[in-house]
């Protein structure tokens, strides 16, 4: 009994220590010190040689020029010219009244952009070359060379990040950079179904995606809760499935987003998730979904379950809808979902049961998994059948179809199909850890993208980006060929608890950690070393109008709405301290408690 009392005391002391920690950051003496990096690049380039020799920029005379290659090819020019205009604005932020003359300084006169590939594709693709080299010499103009317009975009972003502010002057240091991404698919996922997110906020995210050299916007555009995509073929999808008729994306809105993304070298991959996650589809087209019987089997608002996969009309519907989708979205890949199908409703429906008997699927969980696989495979066939050269049409699917069907040998699908790995394993979710899943997916020859460790919708108190930073998609046992098949990853922000009020702040700069993991060499892993750069990147985004949230006590010279207007800039101090987390602190206290407890028993 005494021991219990003692334990309680120990625990209380720990609790006390914990409570203290909560209020007292240990690094107070550092918060004010201006230790933010200046002119650093996020994500870290593959190779960068920089010097202490600084050059000044003259905002009035700085010139951008493009080589003949870049200016004669219409596709190159189409992307590059507007980009140069954007970066001309981003390059010089010191308010006109506060600028100090650079006369007498060593001045960098301009930047010359060369695209040596000769041709540019109209849209970025999975295979686009994003490499570039950038040379800021001690004298003469700076040069940026890339194979494609997409590489030039990445190089322009890097160039803009080299610039820093000193005493009213824009400066940068003599630097040589050779850079290319480690992974080809670097995305964020926005969910516009749990809450509608209007086009200006989507564009803000696209800006931030570009500032972090990511290249995929995975648009989880519809889900159970609402169907904001306005289809011409099936107008009741949004007509009855959107929250309101203000909460829809018209065809023009979608094309606008796609064009905005193209200008920034970002692929837009829409996800129309089926056969689960379709409640909102059933508002307008109830016959598309399975009627659950009795109706209380599926605890939803419509007593309808997943797609009715037994009817040919369902496949006709999908054929028509995806024909329209295929027509609107430029990217080769469409995300077909296929996750989290609950089988109870299918089990309760006679039509489905008959169909299963016809197909020879057993009336077991495995049988229903086969049914789901049957549906997804047919859907993949539909989508792949929509290829019209030169555009290909390929699918991305959540990992379930691989786990349930491909792995068990039901069938295979086209090897161009990408498996999206999202499950994890902890006390709250008993899924397959990604390091166990990736060897299987790649071992079977499929390409994989990873999201398991980057669910940004999960939040915790404090500075959590080092956790995302620490997760490496190659952290599994496999051959070099298998590692090659992991083509990248995505940071999803599921939107149950985010909308326009808090979306951008919650996404950034946490997604920046994922951006660096996916772009920079595998050896770039030290989050403490990355902190000053991260601080600069966060303040840079705030200065550029992205409402990125702070990562610990600090300040930016141009805070968000510092003087009442948006869009400020300022160098921050701080390195957000390495509170490696609440969790670590807690474990530490727990550990000491245990040691004390057992030490005395």
């Amino acid at each position: 009994m005494k021991l219990s009392v003692f334990c309680l005391l120990v625990a209380l002391v720990c609790q006390r220590a914990f409570a203290d920690w909560v209020r007292q950051p240990f690094w107070y003496d550092d918060a004010r010190r201006d230790k933010v990096a200046k002119g650093t690049v996020w994500p870290q380039p593959r190779s960068i040689q920089t010097t202490q020799q600084s050059l000044s920029l003259n905002p009035d005379s700085f010139s951008f020029s493009t080589s003949d290659d870049a200016s004669s090819n219409a596709n190159c020019k189409d992307v590059l010219d507007p980009a140069i205009e954007r970066y001309r604005d981003l390059l010089f932020w010191i308010p006109a009244g506060e600028r100090v003359s650079v006369s007498g300084d060593r001045v960098l006169g301009g930047l010359r952009v060369t695209i040596s590939g000769g041709t540019c594709s109209e849209y970025p693709t999975l295979d686009s070359d994003e490499s570039y080299t950038l040379e800021v010499p001690a004298s003469g103009d700076a040069t940026l060379r890339a194979q494609t317009a997409w590489g030039a975009l990445r190089g322009l972003e890097t160039f803009s990040q080299l610039v820093y502010e000193v005493d009213g002057k824009h400066k940068l240091n003599v630097t040589t950079i050779s850079d290319e991404p480690r992974f080809r698919h670097r995305g964020v996922m926005l969910d516009t179904a749990r809450h509608f997110l209007n086009v200006p906020y989507i564009k803000q995210n696209l800006d931030a995606i570009a500032y972090n050299k990511m290249n995929v916007f995975h648009w989880h555009i519809v889900d159970d809760q609402s169907f904001p995509f306005q289809s011409a073929t099936y107008p009741d999808l949004s007509g009855k499935g959107a929250y309101t008729q203000d909460n829809v994306y018209t065809r023009q809105d979608v094309l606008d987003v796609i064009e905005y993304a193209r200008m920034r070298g970002i692929r837009v991959i829409p996800e129309f998730d089926s056969p689960g996650h379709m409640q909102s589809w059933g508002q307008g087209y109830p016959e598309l979904l399975t009627s659950c019987s009795p109706t209380n089997v599926q605890a939803d608002i419509y007593h309808l379950g997943p797609a009715n996969v037994a009817r040919n009309s369902t496949y006709d519907f999908m054929q028509n809808l995806f024909t329209e989708i295929r027509d609107i979205f430029a990217d080769d890949y469409l995300h077909l979902g296929g996750d989290e199908v609950h089988f109870q409703c299918w089990m309760s429906n006679a039509e489905i049961q008959d169909f299963m008997r016809q197909q020879g699927f057993p009336n077991t969980t495995q049988g229903f998994a086969q049914l789901e696989g049957y549906y997804i495979k047919r859907l993949l066939d539909i989508v792949e059948g929509l290829s019209v050269a030169p555009k290909r049409s390929r699918g991305i699917v959540w990992q379930e179809i691989f786990d349930n069907n491909i792995l068990s040998g039901d069938f295979t699908v086209d090897l161009d199909t990408i498996i999206h790995v999202w499950q994890w394993n902890n006390s709250n979710f008993q899924g397959i850890p990604y390091w166990d899943e990736l060897p299987l997916v790649t071992g079977a020859g499929y390409q994989a993208i990873l999201s398991s460790c980057w669910y940004l919708n999960f939040i915790s108190y404090g500075r959590d980006w080092p956790e995302y930073y620490a997760c490496d998609p190659h952290n599994f046992t496999g051959t070099p060929q298998q590692k090659q098949l992991v083509i990248g990853g995505e940071a999803p922000l599921w939107a149950e608890w985010v909308d326009a009020t808090n979306h951008v702040a919650r996404m950034w700069p946490r997604a920046s950690a994922v951006a660096e993991r996916l772009w920079s060499p595998q050896s770039v892993t030290d989050s403490a070393a990355a902190s000053p750069r991260m601080e600069e990147q966060r303040c840079r985004m705030v200065r550029r109008g992205i409402r990125a949230q702070p990562q610990g006590p600090s300040y930016c010279k141009y805070e968000w709405n510092l003087a009442g207007q948006a869009g400020n800039y300022v160098p921050t101090a701080s390195g957000a301290r390495g509170i490696t987390g609440y969790a670590q602190q807690l474990l530490l206290s727990l550990f000491s408690c245990l040691v004390l407890t057992f030490g005395l028993s």
């Binding site: 219990s4 334990c7 309680l8 120990v10 625990a11 209380l12 720990c14 609790q15 409570a19 203290d20 909560v22 007292q24 950051p25 107070y28 003496d29 918060a31 004010r32 749990r194 809450h195 509608f196 159970d224 809760q225 609402s226 929250y243 309101t244 203000d246 909460n247 608002i301 709250n428 939040i459 915790s460 108190y461 404090g462 599921w494 939107a495 149950e496 608890w497 326009a500 009020t501 808090n502 702040a505 990125a548 949230q549 702070p550 610990g552 006590p553 600090s554 300040y555 010279k557 805070e559 968000w560 709405n561 510092l562 009442g564 300022v570 101090a573 609440y582 245990l594 407890t597 028993s601």
Partner: protein
Amino acid sequence: MAVLSLFAVFLALFVSPLPCHDVPGYQKPVMVQQTGKVLPKPQTMTASTEAYALAMPSFKFTYGSSSEMCDIVDQAFQRYYDLIFDIDGLRKAPVASKDMSELNTLQVMVKEPCTGVYPSLESSENYTLTVAAPMGTLVADSAWGVLRGLETFSQLVYRTDNGMMLINKTTIDDFPRFAHRGILLDTSRHFIPLKYIKQNLDAMAYNKFNVFHWHIVDDQSFPYQSVVFPDLSAKGAFNPYTHLYTQDDIKDVIEYSRLRGIRVVPEFDTPGHTASWGAGLPGFLTPCYDGTTPNGKYYAANPIRNTTYDMMTKLLKEVKDVFPDKYVHLGGDEVNFNCWKSNPDITKFMETMGFGTDYSKLEQYYIKNILDISTSIGRNYIVWQEVLDNGVQDKSTVGEVWFEHPTIQAVLERLTAKGYRTLLSAGWYLNHDVYNPGTDWSTFYKLDPQVFNGTQEQKDLVIGGEACMWGEYVDGTNLIARLWPRASAVAERLWSAKDVTSMADAAVRIDEQRCRMVRRGLNAEPLHPGFCQFEYD
């Protein structure tokens, strides 16, 4: 045995809110209904289904014939007129109705003179509101009661789908359960631009909070621009030109608050939490030693020098002149003794004073001096709970409970048993956000400051509480979204009757309140999938 002890350890450790990672299941979208529900729920309210139309420009706020008049009420009339009739920043005339009685006047009666007054802990906030066509009445002792009543009135109004503005026949007799209902903002860990301080004051008024506890300075930065010690911000602010609150800014905030019936209680926390004071106030902090030589570091106010107390006297006199509230928060939390222990002069002083090696006595000595200074210049004070745990001060002290020691209830019991008035903020640290804000507000809601073992006299000593938003991870980018509507749960707990505990009812009110705040231009975050009639931006 070991299992038992382990269990005890776990239990005690995990009492505090942990980040919880749920896998999101299917979350039903909620179409939030705007039906004129009031948050916080009034003490007594009788509503009928009989509805009246509000029209523009016929609707008017007026004073009753024998009412006191003042700028507080005049400006509130203007504000609430806009809040009721402005949609998306435009004043839109509601669709008129032919067959409905119209409420064309709300007549306001203020009994006490209100010109130039400031709210105080003792202010009356009672009001009686009667909504009946054609003229409703709002009667209150003070202008503060009128403000609360106007907020209630504005919340009773709802819009139909076809754009009619309606209010139901209603009688409300309302008053707050607790006199002190506060929000703490921390402007030291991050500078909070005035825009967001004012937005937060708006949100406080919408939720009937009445105290802005301004944790204005701390270790990280000193943004308060002092007249007597200008170097404090010149050398202690993040940026002495942009990241500071000038005297004009402070006046602006105080006036903005006064017009909303909100007290501004500044906190100048000493002797710890003062790193940012060092550069601008040489000699104030204690030099730390390695052996017999100073190591160049400083920590905490130097409790053994008379000049320390002279500086604090000057500063607190200024604070008294600048902040009209009768109370100042003097902090007193989390003092680490290592630096004091290392300093040979302090060791000598400890011997002289007969403190032995008990540095908490030195801390008490310091705090007692500071509290005496405060008393001598005419300010009451609030201090964090340690100060009261460490030694008896006089009974006018208000203690603020901020951590479980060992439980929230035990601290409340202990401090009130000693006869101190007490504020609760432990349990309401809203800076700790977790995955699902849809559930974490329920934890805040369920915490009752008067549920602990003690006599009725002890319960009566609990004068209220505060929701705290410590600033380590918030600035202008995310402050409002993270605080609201989660703080609305605390607002209702502190205002409404003790027996208002139904989570289901509260969920409906907080939903509508969230959408109301969004419509009024605040980026209050969502509590579940769905949408508001008027979305943010």
